[in-house]
């Protein structure tokens, strides 16, 4: 019964998305109708996906069925196993919220141009994502994977009149296809040795491969899915492509599209692989830590609000991979319980990051719609003009900084606990890796908090830095509702961690044969334990309640003394020079200057100051300041590759002479070679 319901809801969701896509196309000339219809249908589809995933999660056996449009060789099998259901659930939630938000966001957007087209590609993207997370056949998976990349490309390139957008789109498309190419090879190897394309036959298939092939397939999968997830150093497309898309699309891209990469990695690591070699886990852990640090360090230097958020996606992917890498290592070390803890930490952070990053991108979209700029240096004081947006953005900022009692804290806490527990799992020097990773994770988290103090403080606090910001007005209620739901979800997953943890039980059971939630949740469901009897506990609801109670102390004193005291407002201290203006405020550049100097070896900053003066250099009449940091990965890693590829391509041009005789000669040579070598086999 539940199985049939899950199937019906899921197929219904797909149909709704398809109808939404068609409605977008059909009413392209009537933007208002297209907007209501295609995003309304997307909302319906998202709700049905959520229902299907919830049903699937409650079922003992994973529901599986085939879509009626396949051919015998490539059946379109869908399987909602616990891992798929978790990602579908998050997708459904985010898609619903973003659809709601888009209603208001696309209202009067660019005079309604292309709203129908956005609706079309948006629904196709949702459809392909739903299938990516559930496809259980390699051919089907690659097909929807490609559909997802192409629809995402079309959405990224929506503002294609700008040069920046076209460049970003091209980079996205190239890297995405390179990744797909690697995946294709990896899946082919698996399909040959499993003599089937069905994912169910891939379960623990790695152990049947010869060692060299196993290594190669692991690396192919890691790189192929790593491109989509944005793992350093494969991340360069992400901060280019995410910001140029319309903000509702950016929210979906950073929230869930990059999670397709994480889903793929989880599928390979914890389904296709059985016990991995130790170096595999170490590689993933190291890549996670590196992504975390690189992402946050670049985010700190960014003054484009959406690019800043995009770099934080890289950082959070790093935190997720830290959990995954640790889980792989613990499996190699024969510690399934600790491995399950690390996997839960990684998956919990995946869900959390989807929620708060989507929230922050929607907040950035509201700011963009209200001020028409992404440059933080022009903003300021928006907390008075967009009070609700500011509040929701603050919730997201606290959550992403991993501060209690919100959801980011819970998953980071679980990650630390897994790493700490890892120290006892082995006697070799390898174990020093775990506390070291923990310390670098702490640095990443603290730098993220710094970055969000900057982001929130410069955008929303103090005085407006430009005219257009002064004229900003609060966004429409459907946009606020979208952000409000996500903010509530961030609070809910923080305070209700103990209620959410059992969701991971079937996943860890399927991957490692361990159910951990009973060990993690104890004392009446108010505290999360570290999984070992005395390992430590944390209670976010307890903390929240205590924080509220303790703020009663200042309130009490205020009642007896403060109420009668005089309150005056006055100007902030201006060093005796009257007229403190927006230009006296700290800017985003100034805020991050100490870190730019401290990490100068990493950033390689360049600055240029030109002062014009009449009497003495100490009394300048005008100053021009320019500063930039080197994009090392592009310059040192990608530039040589690009040059080499272009050089090779121009060499190959000589082969393409355009002469029919030459081509006939090529065919002849190939034929001879085939006869010589092919005939023998």
């Amino acid at each position: 019964m539940g199985r049939l319901l899950a199937e019906a809801f899921f197929n219904g969701g797909l149909a709704a998305c398809l109808a939404g896509a068609l409605a977008g196309l059909a009413f392209a000339s009537r933007p208002a109708l297209a907007r209501v219809l295609s995003f309304g249908l997307a909302l319906l589809g998202a709700a049905l996906e959520v229902a299907a995933s919830v049903f699937a999660l409650t079922l003992e056996a994973s529901p599986s069925w085939s879509l009626p449009c396949g051919v015998p060789l490539f059946s379109w099998t869908i399987r909602l196993d616990p891992l798929s259901a978790l990602f579908s659930l998050v997708l459904g939630l985010l898609a619903g919220v973003v659809s709601l938000y888009s209603w208001g966001y696309l209202h009067n957007a660019a005079g309604g141009r292309g709203v129908g087209l956005i609706g079309f590609f948006y629904n196709i993207l949702l459809l392909s994502l739903a299938l990516v997370f559930t496809a259980s056949n390699a051919f089907f998976f690659l097909l929807v994977w490609e559909l997802m990349a192409l629809s995402a490309y079309c959405l990224v390139c929506f503002h294609h009149e700008k040069d920046e957008t076209r460049r970003a789109g091209a980079l996205f498309l190239i890297m995405s296809h390179a990744g797909t190419g690697l995946l294709l090879v990896a899946f082919l190897v698996l399909a040959i040795s499993g003599s089937s394309l069905d994912f169910q036959n891939f379960h623990h298939l790695f152990s049947k491969l010869p060692p060299q092939l196993r290594t190669a397939v692991f690396l192919l999968f890691f790189l192929g899915f790593g491109v989509k997830a944005g793992v350093t150093p494969l991340h360069v497309w992400l901060p280019a492509a995410h910001p140029v898309a319309p903000s509702n699309i950016s929210a979906l891209m950073s929230g869930i599209v990059i999670k397709a990469g994480i889903y793929g990695l989880a599928r390979v690591f914890f389904d296709f692989m059985d016990v991995p070699p130790l170096w595999a886990g170490m590689l993933v852990l190291a890549a996670g830590i590196l992504s975390g640090l690189v992402g946050v360090l670049y985010a700190l230097m960014e003054h484009d609000l959406k690019r800043l958020l995009a770099y934080h996606s890289i950082e959070n992917i790093g935190i997720i991979l830290t959990g995954f890498g640790a889980a792989l290592m613990f499996r190699s070390l024969g510690q399934p319980r600790v491995a399950a803890l690390a996997l839960i930490a990684g998956l919990y952070h995946t869900v959390n990051h989807a929620l708060f990053k989507c929230l922050l991108f929607l907040g950035a979209g509201s700011v963009l719609k209200a001020t028409h700029t992404r440059n933080m240096e022009l903003m300021g004081g928006l907390i008075r003009r967009l009070p609700a947006t500011a509040f929701f953005f603050l919730v997201g900022a606290i959550a992403i900084s991993g501060l209690p009692p919100l959801n980011g804290f819970v998953s980071e806490w679980l990650t630390y606990q897994a790493l700490l527990a890892g120290f006892g799992t082995t006697q070799s020097l390898t174990r020093l890796m775990f506390p070291a990773a923990g310390a670098l994770l702490a640095l990443t988290a603290a730098l993220a908090a710094t970055c969000f103090v900057k982001a929130f403080g410069i955008v929303f606090l103090a005085l407006p830095r430009s005219q257009r910001v002064e004229e900003a007005r609060e966004v429409s209620s459907s946009m606020l509702a979208g952000m409000g739901i996500l903010a509530a979800a961030c609070v809910g997953l923080g305070l209700g961690a103990t209620l959410f943890l059992p969701v991971f039980d079937p996943i860890t059971h399927q991957a490692m044969g361990v159910r951990l939630s009973s060990a993690l949740v104890a004392s009446g469901g108010v505290a999360v334990f570290a999984g070992t009897p005395r390992g430590g506990a944390v209670s976010t609801p307890g903390m929240a309640a205590m924080l509220v109670l303790l703020s009663g102390i200042p309130a009490f004193f205020w009642l007896i003394w403060g109420r009668h005291a005089r309150r005056t407002t006055g100007p902030a201290w201006d060093c005796g020079l009257p007229g403190l203006g927006p230009e006296n405020q700290y800017t985003a550049t100034a805020f991050s200057k100490p870190l730019r100097l401290i990490f100068a070896a990493f950033y390689r900053p360049r600055r240029e100051v030109q002062a014009e003066f009449e009497v003495s250099p100490y009394y300048p009449t005008a100053i021009r300041f320019e500063s930039e940091i080197e994009s090392s990965f592009e310059k040192r890693l990608y530039e040589p590759v690009k040059t080499a590829v272009l050089a090779l391509a121009s060499r190959m041009r000589t082969v393409q002479a355009g002469s029919i005789h030459a081509y006939l000669a090529y065919i002849f040579i190939v034929l001879v070679l085939l006869l010589l070598f092919g005939a023998r086999g």
């Binding site: 603290a446 710094t450 005395r534 506990a537 944390v538 209670s539 200042p554 005056t568």
Partner: protein, 313 residues
């Protein structure tokens, strides 16, 4: 339930009552060492009493965050204090979180404080926020690594469990790993509480201000809550150091005699640690801002060495 409530209330009172005293004691010692008379040991109490009754001047540019910051800072500091064992090895709210929760609660307070600094619209607030967030971020890995060293020894991140293990091995603080971790944490605590050589709590000179720059615009009761929160934070970090590394006299059982003994020892050890802090403050000059990362890096190295030496010894 009632016992837990009583313990919690007792510790809240202790934190609020003793923290100004510790600050007053440190200031007095420092004045004496610099052959000044200085204000009396009770001056912080008088300051609080005065500030709580005074009026406020609120910057025109500020928003509700400016008003919320002191309250958030105060409640996070006191809550963090409730996670630390002070009167017995079992902290009152040990179930609510261990040492990781403590670090992140202080982080929440700092997050709001830095936003409060930016909210004023003046240059100093931004300056203070930027420096505070930068330096605390750099202190974080050293702190975590030192904490991990201790947590691995006790096989737990619960501070009660760590204290209980420490009580069981009174002389363990002489082990190389413990000495290294102690020194590393001491440096981090100097940085976290804004003392020389990282920050000078007695200055209002713009070139060197960190903490004071952020709270420059606060006055009256709001300033009182921020100051009190800072003192509570100092007390709880000192207690954390004391009861993790010098567990002498800390009682594991909860009784009247036990609490009195623990309190006596706690005060004694606080006095000793205060002397150490004062000696460091008096014999050092404040570091240039961009030399502080080197100090924090040395703390990180010490923590790393501490961790490696648990492996060896």
């Amino acid at each position: 339930m009632t016992e837990a409530l009583f313990k919690t209330l007792l510790q809240i009172c202790l934190l609020l009552a003793i923290s100004p005293l510790v600050t007053g004691f440190i200031r007095m010692l420092k004045a004496r060492l610099q052959t000044r008379r200085g204000p009396g040991i009770l001056q912080p109490y008088r300051d609080l009493h005065k500030l709580l009754r005074k009026g406020m001047v609120i910057p025109q540019t500020s928003s509700w965050l400016f008003a919320a910051t002191p309250i958030v800072l105060f409640s996070t500091s006191v809550l963090a204090g409730l996670l630390v064992p002070m009167l017995s090895a079992a902290a009152p709210l040990s179930l609510f979180g261990g040492v990781l929760a403590l670090v992140y609660l202080l982080g929440l307070g700092r997050f709001f404080l830095a936003l409060g600094g930016l909210d004023t619209g003046g240059s100093f607030g931004g300056l203070g926020s930027s420096r505070e967030m930068t330096l605390s971020a750099l202190a974080e890995p050293a702190m975590m690594l030192a904490i991990f060293t201790v947590a691995i020894g006790a096989n737990s991140t619960s501070l009660s469990e760590i204290a209980r293990v420490a009580v069981g091995q009174q002389w363990r603080f002489l082990a190389p790993s413990q000495i290294l971790a102690f020194v590393a944490l001491f440096i981090v605590i100097i940085a976290e509480t804004g003392r020389i050589p990282v920050d000078n709590p007695a200055t209002h000179l713009e070139l060197t201000m960190i903490h004071e720059a952020m709270i420059l615009e606060y006055s009256g009761p709001r300033l009182a809550w921020i100051e009190w929160a800072a003192w509570v934070k100092q007390l709880l970090l000192m207690s954390l150091l004391i009861n993790t590394f010098w567990p002498f006299g800390l009682q594991t059982v909860w009784s009247v005699a036990g609490v009195v003994t623990s309190l006596g020892w706690l005060l004694l050890k606080l006095a000793v640690l205060s002397c150490c802090i004062v000696l460091v403050e008096t014999t050092n000059a404040k570091l240039r801002l961009f030399r502080v990362p080197e100090l924090l890096a040395s703390a990180f190295t010490l923590s790393a060495l501490a961790l490696v030496s648990t492996f060896l010894f």
